[in-house]
Assembly symmetry: C2
Homo-oligomer: 341 residues x 2
DNA sequence: TTGTATGCGTTATCAT
DNA sequence: ATGATAACGCATACAA
């Protein structure tokens, strides 16, 4: 079996020999800078093709202090929302000549820091940090690497850019939709309260109530433990609230998983969706179409989120000027209405 | 804003100066090889900590011809099955000190080849190639990089290892399950026929029929265009077959998306699932639990698939010996029964 | 237009 | 036990 180690890759030096020019000239031809005659260009390119030369990016990176690689930190790539974001990012960055190193952090701060050190050692040109628990502290975690935080507040806004879906508006939108449909006894199901996005969605919920002259009944705020967000587990928590005598005619779940658990709870408790209680989730998970009733949900503009994030990062990398509004952008959310309302 | 370029990272050389030893000694201490006194070790380590030194892996890679990076080629990371596989791989490889470069190929041969060149230039230590259309040809695509193909046959078995779920057995299992439930008029919905996994699942279907004395009616093989695998599109194709007068009492869909489309078609056509027609899918997508009726499906052992693949690749990288059975492994599949049968 | 020489940060060889 | 030196492949400043 062919072993990777015994390969003898050809180098610029060798191409230079074969085409009777200096390595410098070969380099100039390859990168199309400096000046050289058309005749030389053709001769060199011919040799390159014939010998199937391929650039050694490791050497190039060392020399140029630039790796053409972006590190992407994400809590869990198997999550539908995250993997879609990463997909978009990868495609966009690929088109710009960058590769992506993927890092599953499990929201584990320790793993996160370890990865950060490794990525810095690999000289990544930039960092895309998606979600995660705490605020992201660029000073404690000693990375000078250019960073764009998505759905996660950087502690030091001098050092990192912040892009986010407009979770607040999403929460507002969902809640007002329920209100418009006549709901009076509104509740919210929430988990991962320390997440920026959760906080914002909750804030939107509360503000919508206030704006419409409704009071936020604390008994109708169901908090789900971060480790128990499986639909079955959620169902039990929600059922408990139902059995405790809390009445609902509209529920906003801060994410779709919670919404599914809530729907199951309603079924079990004998409340019909949407007749007795209306439900709206968040993320527009592919599952939404399949549940019965199908689930209304707030949809994030994943394409835009990924594109804007990458664009800003590339701007940083190319040390282009940026307006202060660019350094902190909100991507609008929209609501997809289905049977559950 | 801090710019990545003006950082002045400290090097082994500088650590050497600060601790009054040579760079060579510092390197030896860091990598804990060679010999050095305990006193030296402590002094060097102290300086390293105090100055927050971090290894430059790019330089290390150039020198050692080893990048501690694995390239992962995957058709579409936003697919639930693929992203789960990648998640497991990344976790496992991280624990072994490797990073993962993710490459979405869209099953586009051109992009695939371009990526392969880039990865080789980045000196990745190995390649994990998941699925994809054609057989993977290590000679045409001139990569000497150590490769493990998952669910995709390498053309030259000398140059690459092949790991796969047992799709054949999965197809067999699904079909026999339907037969045991009394189905006589069995059909299959299939897309991506050129995929190794699809072929195998189909083969399992046919063999199961034959083994049970049933004939495979070609009219009950519904082929879906690769570009029209959305449930709604699938539904139309399946409905057409129904309207053409083809009768079914059991359907094996080679993946869950097709199964969902098929279920919708049954609903529209007035056939009850599972009373009139029983359905089994493949992949055990999270969606299976949510559809109504919930969908039975063949489940791949993702953990095992990822772990075995990584283990083999690491063995290749460390040029460990391998038995010929190791070079071509099948991971067992199982069936998850739900309401649809 | 082209060549020479140097250095990026590291490890490995060969001394001492 | 430790140091001097070369080499990995490339880009660039400077010279010609």
């Amino acid at each position: 079996m062919m072993n990777g180690n015994d390969e003898n890759k050809i180098s610029i030096k060798r191409i230079a020999e074969l085409s009777g020019v200096s390595p410098a000239t070969v380099s100039r031809v390859i990168n199309n800078n400096g000046r050289f005659s058309e005749k030389t260009r053709r001769r060199v390119m011919k040799v390159i093709r014939e010998n199937n030369y391929g650039m050694n990016y490791v050497a190039k990176s060392l020399r140029m202090k630039k790796s053409f690689t972006i590190g992407v930190l994400v809590p869990d790539i198997s999550n539908a929302f995250f993997s879609s974001v990463v997909l978009r990012m990868e495609k966009y960055l690929y088109s710009k000549g960058y590769s992506v190193i993927i890092c599953n952090t499990d929201r584990d701060e320790h793993k996160e820091m370890a990865y950060l050190r490794t990525l810095e050692g690999k000289m990544v040109d930039g960092l895309l940090i998606i979600s995660g628990d705490q605020e992201f502290d660029t000073s404690v975690i000693q990375t000078q690497t250019l960073t764009v935080c998505i759905d996660r507040k950087p502690k030091n806004t001098e050092n990192a850019v912040f892009i986010s879906s407009d979770h607040y508006h999403g929460g507002l939108l969902a809640t007002e939709t329920l209100i418009k449909q006549g709901c009076k006894k509104l509740g919210i199901i929430i988990s991962h309260e320390n997440l920026y996005s959760s906080k914002e969605r909750l804030r939107g919920f509360k503000d919508a109530l206030e704006k419409n002259g409704l009071t936020c009944n604390p008994n109708r705020i169901i908090k789900i433990n971060d480790k128990e967000t499986k639909p079955e587990e959620v169902k039990l928590h929600v059922l408990k609230s139902f059995r405790d005598g809390n009445l609902y005619d509209g529920i906003f779940a801060v994410n779709d998983r919670l919404a599914f658990g809530t729907m199951k709870a309603c079924q079990d408790f004998g409340w019909k969706v949407p007749e007795n209680v209306k439900i709206i989730g968040f993320d527009d998970d592919p599952l939404c179409t399949y549940s019965s009733p199908s689930l209304s949900s707030v949809k994030q503009d994943i394409d835009q989120l990924a594109k804007v994030s990458c664009d800003i990062l590339l701007k940083l990398i190319n040390s282009e000027m940026m307006t202060s509004t660019e350094k902190c952008q909100m991507i609008p959310t929209s609501i997809i209405l289905r049977e559950s309302v």
